[in-house]
Symmetry: C2
Subunit: 537 residues, 2 copies
Amino acid sequence: MWTAALFVFLLLNVEVNEAANTTTSKQETKENTEATDSVSASSSRFVGNLLVIPMDGSHWVGIKAIAQEMGRRGHRVTVVMPEVTSRMGPGKYYDTVTFPVPYDKAFVESVMATHKEIMKKSSQPFMEKIKSRITQIQSIVGMLHSTAESLLFNDSLIEHLALQDFDAVLTDPMVPTGSLIARKLGLPTVNLLRGIPCSLDMKSAGCPSPPSYVPRFFSGYTDKMDFKQRVINTLVAFLEPLLCRVIYWHFDQIAYQFLGEKVGVAEVLSDSDIWLMRFDFTLEFPRPLMPNMVLVGGINCNVRNPLPEVSSHGFVVFTFGSMVSELPRETAAVFLEAFRQIPQKVIWRYTGPLPDDIPENVKMMKWVPQNDLLAHPGARAFITHAGSHGIFEGLCHAVPMLMLPLNGDQPDNARRFASRGTGVVLDIFSITTEILLQGLNEVINNTRYRENLQRLSALHTDRPIDPLELSVYWTEFVMRHKGAKHLKAAVHDLNLIQYFCLDVIALLVTVVLVFLILTVKCFKMCFRKLGKKRKQD
Amino acid sequence: MWTAALFVFLLLNVEVNEAANTTTSKQETKENTEATDSVSASSSRFVGNLLVIPMDGSHWVGIKAIAQEMGRRGHRVTVVMPEVTSRMGPGKYYDTVTFPVPYDKAFVESVMATHKEIMKKSSQPFMEKIKSRITQIQSIVGMLHSTAESLLFNDSLIEHLALQDFDAVLTDPMVPTGSLIARKLGLPTVNLLRGIPCSLDMKSAGCPSPPSYVPRFFSGYTDKMDFKQRVINTLVAFLEPLLCRVIYWHFDQIAYQFLGEKVGVAEVLSDSDIWLMRFDFTLEFPRPLMPNMVLVGGINCNVRNPLPEVSSHGFVVFTFGSMVSELPRETAAVFLEAFRQIPQKVIWRYTGPLPDDIPENVKMMKWVPQNDLLAHPGARAFITHAGSHGIFEGLCHAVPMLMLPLNGDQPDNARRFASRGTGVVLDIFSITTEILLQGLNEVINNTRYRENLQRLSALHTDRPIDPLELSVYWTEFVMRHKGAKHLKAAVHDLNLIQYFCLDVIALLVTVVLVFLILTVKCFKMCFRKLGKKRKQD
């Protein structure tokens, strides 16, 4: 009924107007149709030009996945990397631009091998341990700074990049080289990260992190803290800005030199358009997020080459990630001795010289398809350093984990997962065959770990969009719309006093105090007068 | 290479173990396969049983869309509604259960018509206006309470519902009837809402809303506030809990009676598993969100019956939503006079008796396909009361808006959209033909409104998943997993002192003060001793 009435009405309109104004109205309609078309088409047919500035090591995994997928979808993708790298390299779907660095492959390998040194010296006195730990951190940080400077102050390369007409930069903000280049070239940024230890990511995104239930990195706390834990967590929260200043001190100087403007790393990162966060709430404790944060935990769980089904006692997958591929001889012996005593086969990623006494059920390999192995129904346990990629692969495929965290976010990852009953955490630095064996038997034979993991894995994998797909979507979004400014909160215009409304609270408290004082004075005066009057009476 | 090595290794394992333990291992593998299957299948083949407890009026639109879509996908959907309603009714894909209420259709219509009365009395003195406004609110609130009580204390119906083995409740928490029933029946809850004025939704979800950049409902502020605005916004934030107590006072009593436990509405709502929020950041100012909040603004923008293309001067769509379908005669005359002076046709949703002097270019209809009309390229302007459904339809289809907000969230919606240059806000209570005409000509002829809207619409419609699809996804998620507890922050275990760490801050301040006092005392003592010694010398 209404349709008929409406059509007659609208058509009548045409008859009246078309004679008078045919050209204009047709043109208008065409414009409208085009506009609508371009909007609806923008999401499907957009092809752009992406600059990728990754970090080396395990951080490369996620960035590479996005770069590959972006290239596969027809975007032009350019990955900038140093001539000497640990893991980075060319790929099928992206171009590579390299720049010279003042170190060689041997140096990179020696920096990576310091892990082994630290483990070896577990019997060292405490101060020696701390010293060698600091030396290790210094050597890694030195290499990161040197790499960043080699890129940022390579004028011809920066000029070359400036001419490429990129739509956006995809980078890992832990080392803010990419963010600095994005600011210099005026490009929007997409970040991929697990988190920055001093919460610089949350600070730069303007994301509230109430210390009452958001445990800080390294604290080892859960989201349920007692008073003492809250005191320490709050203290850490207070100290975080200072920690950030220390960690990014050198980069703040580099930023000034490179950009020629007085900005620090925190301010540069607050330019970021989209934060792709490599976690979700099966790992992390629920916390506030900002509109421009997208959770992509489990970005690396797609099974690429499914292994054929093998009925068996099952097997154990043992990898310590890309950073630790070799153990001190005495530690390796502890593991081998424990493996000798379990019925499962063990597949161990190990790049060092093979020991003489490898048990029959152990296979040591220079590289293993970790994710595909974990996806195999025969996988009974996963011995891992609890790096953020590994644990998500364990979680996706519900393989109980024996976690031996080394450093970085690993201890936190391990504790968080263990608190959900998905595995056991052991101390790699004081490991013995008995402890290891007990842990292995526990995660393999106690069904509660697999049950918990299956429940958690069901939650983790039940999502409207695959995390890699989602990462690509938001990268394309930023390229299409030249940023995502409408998702950025107005936090960045406020200083700390304004943000916490301390000035407002001060005013309100003053008003209340003045009011109280005046009231008391008034009452006093009245009583005095009354008293006087009574006396006079 | 590695594949070959690995396969040989794994197959060897089979040969060794299968002889000894065939049955067990086969069984184990089968279990594993089944587990993996059930996980991967859960997201695609799940069919459940959903209880829907909606609100009447415009709130029904979004809930109905989800209920229909859930039913269409094969879920059993039961919608509970009063026997007498304003807009609710049966649908193709859901069952309806009705309950008796102590009022009739005429009463509902009289409550709805109070809008008209208020507009008519625009020349009334201020106090009279306030009085009639309060009477209007009282009559609406009275009806809401009466409806809720009629359902909650209908023992046989509640018993019947308890026996239906529902997986979840989908409801509008503005009126917490559904949430109370969910708590009584121990069912997880999915909420669909635009927001609750006293921020009860944010409070119950444990979501931080810093008053420094999150403007409060009714304040009319943007996310960039000067000091005075921040003072008022902070005061409103302080008063919100009190406001909530007043608004939900009666429901707090009902909750106690119905549940038999001493809980208020705020606590009941904090049980909620998923909050489907009917906004996004093209409307709302960017603000923190919680993991269990899902943005579904624009859930109602799908074009169902595209209208044929009509070349013309275009037309103006004029609707004041379902709550206001008729205007006082003098206000209607103002509109008609203005429409007479524009070349566009006007399609006006109007249910009252038709005036005598309708201009030729105006078509008044009892019902119009608002969304389909706005999607038509001929739509030149949208005269709207800025209800949250209408403005999203205007936004989706990029139709410049002339906004005449009446009440509720409408003034805020209007100001937010206007601040983005998408339309003009006018005061319906003091409207004249000249003002209206000026506004109409502005939004129709000044291209900047359409340009802004096209940019904003491109951002709004560029999303990885359609909002209705997303709403259905998370409703199914809650049904599949019997809730979404892993997305709920640990805020609810904390009282306000703990949440803001006021106890921790008090301790830290005390420690610092004691330390300072002791230091000062120490110095004083030292100086005194030194002084004495010198004197002695």
